[in-house]
C-alpha cells in the first residue's frame, strides 16, 4: 500500500513512492474527468439533492497533487494535539488523503488492527447508488480497515483528517475507510477535519457493528472557509449493537454529511446528534437515511442549526421502517436558530413506515434569539456580542452534554467556550 502510506523521506525527495503516487493521481484525475463526462451531476430533481448543488465540482479545476510540506505538517499536528490536550490518544494522521506514518501512533495499537490495503467487508456498500460514493470508489487509492477484536474495549482514538494544498492549486482526495467492531467490543473515535486552502475531501466510511458492539463517533468538521467536504457514512448494526454519532460542522464553504444507517439486528440502537454553525455564504447539508429492518430497534436524530449572514443550512432526514421492524422507536428533530434575515434553512423530515406497531415522530422548529434573554444578559453587564454568543451556545450545548467520551466532550466544550467551572 505504498501510495497511501506516506513517510517522511517521500516528502523530501523524489522517491519512488512519490513518483508512484503522482502516477496514481494522474490516473485518478483521468478517471474522475471521465466519470463526470459520462455522468450527470445530481440535480434538484433527485430527492436527496433537492437543496444542495454540486456544480462547483465541474467548475473548479481540482488537481491531484496531494503532496505536502512535512515540517509544516509536523508542527501543525503537534500544536493541534497539545492545544486540545489530545497528546495521550493513539492517533491516525491523514493529510490530503494519505496516512502519515511518522506522525501516526495508532498502527502499533494492541487493541485495534489496521490494514492499509483491505478488501471490502461487504460489497453492498460499494454498490449503493450514491453519487459521491461512486466518485470515491473510482478515485480512492485503497480501502483502509480498522478492526476491533471480539470482547475488546479499544478506548478512544484520534483521527486527524487534514487538508492543505502545497500551492494555490485546489486539490481533491477521496479516502475510504472501513471500521469493523467485532462482538462485544467498544471504540470511541474523535475525528477532527481541519484544513487550510482550497480542497475537496470526499471520504467514505463503512462501519460494521457486530453483535453487542458499541461505537461512539465524534466528528468535528472545521476545514478551511474555501474547502469542500462531503462525507458519506454507511453504518450497519447487528443485534444489540449501538452507534452513537455527534457531528459539528463549521467553516467549510460547502459541506455535506450523509449518514446512512441500517439497523439490521434486533435491539440495535442509533443516536445521532449534529450541530451546524454557519455564516458568510456557507452551505452545509446533513442528509440522513435510517432504515429499521429488525424489531425493537431505536433511532434518535437531533440536528441543530445556527445560521448567520447569508448561510444556507439543509437537513433532510428520512426514517424508513420495514414491515418486519415492529416495536420500532424512532424520533427525529430539527431545530434552527436564524440570526439573519438572509440566512436560509431547508428542512425535510420524512417517515416511511410499513410496520404497524411502532412509535415514530419528527418535528422541525425555526426561530430567532429571545429578546428578553438578550436583555437579561446585557442588563447584567454582558456586551451584545458576548450575550449573543452565550445564547447561541446554549442552543447547542445540550447536544454536547450527550457525548459520553470525556475527552471528546472536553474538546467540543472548549471549542464552544462552554466549559463548566470546576471546583464548585
Amino acid at each position: 500500500m505504498p501510495n497511501m502510506l506516506t513517510d517522511h523521506k517521500s516528502q523530501n525527495s523524489n522517491s519512488s513512492i512519490q513518483k508512484k503516487s503522482c502516477k496514481n493521481f494522474k490516473k485518478n484525475l483521468n478517471k474522475l474527468s471521465e466519470f463526470l463526462r459520462k455522468n450527470k451531476l445530481p440535480s434538484s430533481k433527485d430527492d436527496s439533492w433537492k437543496y444542495s448543488n454540486l456544480s462547483w465540482l465541474k467548475q473548479i479545476n481540482f488537481t491531484y497533487n496531494t503532496q505536502f510540506n512535512y515540517t509544516y505538517l509536523e508542527h501543525w499536528v503537534y500544536t493541534l494535539i497539545k492545544e486540545n490536550n489530545l497528546e495521550t490518544l493513539p492517533r491516525l494522521v491523514c493529510v490530503n488523503g494519505h496516512i502519515v506514518k511518522p506522525l501516526t501512533t495508532l498502527l502499533d495499537s494492541s487493541k485495534l488492527t489496521v490494514d492499509l490495503d483491505a478488501q471490502p467487508y461487504s460489497d453492498s456498500i460499494n454498490n449503493e447508488a450514491n453519487f459521491l460514493n461512486e466518485v470515491n470508489l473510482i478515485c480512492s487509492d485503497a480501502l483502509i480497515e480498522f478492526k476491533v477484536k471480539k470482547n475488546t474495549q479499544a478506548g478512544t482514538i484520534l483521527i486527524l483528517n487534514l487538508g492543505k494544498p502545497l500551492d494555490s492549486n485546489p486539490i481533491a482526495f477521496h479516502p475510504r475507510f472501513q471500521w469493523i467492531l467485532e462482538e462485544n467490543s467498544t471504540l470511541s473515535i474523535l475525528e477532527l477535519n481541519i484544513g487550510e486552502g482550497t480542497y475537496f475531501n470526499n471520504p467514505v466510511r463503512q462501519i460494521f457493528l457486530k453483535k453487542n458492539s458499541c461505537l461512539e463517533f465524534n466528528n468535528f468538521i472545521n476545514p478551511s472557509p474555501s474547502s469542500y467536504l462531503c462525507s458519506n457514512f454507511f453504518v450497519k448494526l447487528a443485534e444489540q449493537a449501538r452507534y452513537k454519532q455527534f457531528l459539528m460542522t463549521k467553516e467549510a464553504k460547502f459541506a455535506r454529511q450523509e449518514v446512512n444507517v441500517k439497523l439490521l439486528g434486533e435491539w440495535s440502537e442509533t443516536l445521532f446528534r449534529a450541530i451546524q454553525i454557519l455564516n458568510t455564504h456557507q452551505h452545509s447539508d446533513i442528509t440522513t437515511h435510517f432504515i429499521h429492518e429488525a424489531p425493537h430497534c431505536t433511532s434518535f436524530q437531533n440536528v441543530k442549526n445556527i445560521l448567520s449572514e447569508r448561510s444556507k443550512g439543509v437537513f433532510q432526514g428520512k426514517v424508513c421502517v420495514k414491515r418486519q421492524a415492529q416495536k420500532t422507536n424512532a424520533e427525529q428533530q430539527n431545530q434552527t436558530l436564524l440570526l439573519s434575515d438572509q440566512a436560509e434553512i431547508y428542512t425535510k423530515p420524512e417517515l416511511e413506515i410499513y410496520a404497524e406497531d411502532v412509535k415514530c415522530s419528527h418535528g422541525a422548529t425555526v426561530g430567532a434569539l429571545d429578546d428578553e434573554q438578550l436583555f437579561f444578559l446585557m442588563s447584567k453587564g454582558i456586551p451584545y456580542p458576548q450575550a449573543k454568543q452565550i445564547l447561541t451556545n446554549a442552543f447547542v450545548v445540550e447536544a454536547i452534554d450527550y457525548i459520553t467520551d470525556p475527552l471528546a466532550k472536553e474538546f467540543f466544550n472548549k471549542h464552544l467556550n462552554t466549559e463548566i467551572l470546576e471546583g464548585l
Binding site: F375, S379, G381, I390
Partner: protein
C-alpha cells in the same frame, strides 16, 4: 450629598399588541432625584408603571422615551446600552428573573463579573479568584453551591430566583440598584436573607430604588423616602411613615387627593 440619579419629566410609551402596533403611554412625566447613600421606595397600584420605570432605566429596547431626561452620575443614561449602564454602576434585580436553559449559572456570573470589571478598567478575575469570591458571597446569602452548578434560574423556585438576583447584585458591586419586587413570593426566612443582602451593600456609595407592595421588607431595610406612583406619575412622596399609611388606607385616598 451627591445626586446619583436625576429623572426629569420622563415620558415613556410602549407598543401595544394590536396589529397596527399603536404606542401606549405608560409614564407621563416622572420627576425623581436620588442622592448617593439613599434608599428610596416606589409603591403604587398594579399597572401604575413601576416595572416600566425599572426597565426604562435599565435600557429595555421595547420602551420608547418620548420626552424627558435621565442623568446617572451626571451622564445621559438614556444614550447608553444596557451593558454600559451596568458597567456604569446600575443594577436591575428582575421581578421575574429570566430562565436561561443551557447557560451554566457560575459561567454566567463569571462572564457578567468580568465584563463589568473590564468595562470599569479593573483586572478580570481568573477562575480560582472568581470561585473563591462567588462561594463566599453565596454562603452569606444562604445560596447553595448546587444552584451555581445548574443552568441560570432553570428549575429554581421563586425564592431561589430572587436570591440569585441578589447574588448577582452583590458580585457586580453596583452604585445604584433597582429591586423590582424582589421580596414578592419569598417566605419569611428568604425575605430576611434578601434584606440582609441589600443591607450589606448599604453605604454612602450605594443607593437603591426598591419597588415593593409590602411593609415587611421595609421593616428590615428602613428606607429614606417613599414615593407613590400612579397613572404614570409620582403622585405623592414622603418619609418612611408613608408606607404605614398606605398599608392602613390603601392607595385610593392618595389618588383622590391627587385628582382633587
Amino acid at each position: 450629598m451627591k445626586t446619583i440619579l436625576k429623572i426629569k419629566n420622563l415620558h415613556v410609551s410602549v407598543k401595544d399588541e394590536s396589529p397596527e402596533g399603536h404606542c401606549k403611554a405608560i409614564l407621563n412625566g416622572i420627576n425623581l432625584s436620588i442622592s448617593s447613600g439613599e434608599t428610596h421606595v416606589l409603591m403604587g397600584p398594579n399597572g401604575s408603571g413601576k416595572s416600566t420605570l425599572s426597565y426604562v432605566l435599565s435600557g429595555h429596547p421595547d420602551y420608547k422615551v418620548t420626552a424627558g431626561s435621565v442623568l446617572f452620575k451626571g451622564q445621559n443614561l438614556l444614550s447608553l446600552t444596557p451593558d454600559a449602564r451596568a458597567a456604569a454602576g446600575l443594577f436591575l434585580a428582575f421581578q421575574a428573573p429570566i430562565e436561561l436553559p443551557g447557560v451554566n449559572n457560575a459561567n454566567f456570573l463569571k462572564t457578567a463579573v468580568n465584563s463589568v470589571r473590564k468595562a470599569r478598567g479593573q483586572e478580570e478575575l481568573d477562575s480560582l479568584k472568581f470561585l473563591k469570591l462567588v462561594k463566599e458571597t453565596a454562603k452569606k446569602l444562604s445560596f447553595s453551591s448546587d444552584m451555581l452548578k445548574r443552568n441560570v434560574n432553570v428549575g429554581f423556585s421563586g425564592g431561589e430566583k430572587k436570591r440569585n438576583e441578589v447574588l448577582q447584585m452583590s458580585l457586580l458591586h453596583p452604585s445604584f440598584a433597582i429591586l423590582d419586587e424582589t421580596d414578592s413570593g419569598l417566605d419569611i426566612d428568604a425575605l430576611r436573607v434578601v434584606a440582609e443582602g441589600v443591607k450589606s451593600l448599604k453605604s454612602t456609595e450605594f443607593s437603591s430604588l426598591i419597588i415593593t407592595h409590602h411593609q415587611k421588607l421595609l421593616d428590615y431595610i428602613r428606607p429614606d423616602y417613599i414615593h407613590v406612583l400612579a397613572k404614570g406619575r409620582i403622585i405623592h412622596s414622603g418619609g418612611p411613615e408613608l408606607s404605614k399609611r398606605i398599608e392602613k388606607e390603601g392607595y385610593s385616598r392618595l389618588l383622590g387627593e391627587f385628582d382633587a
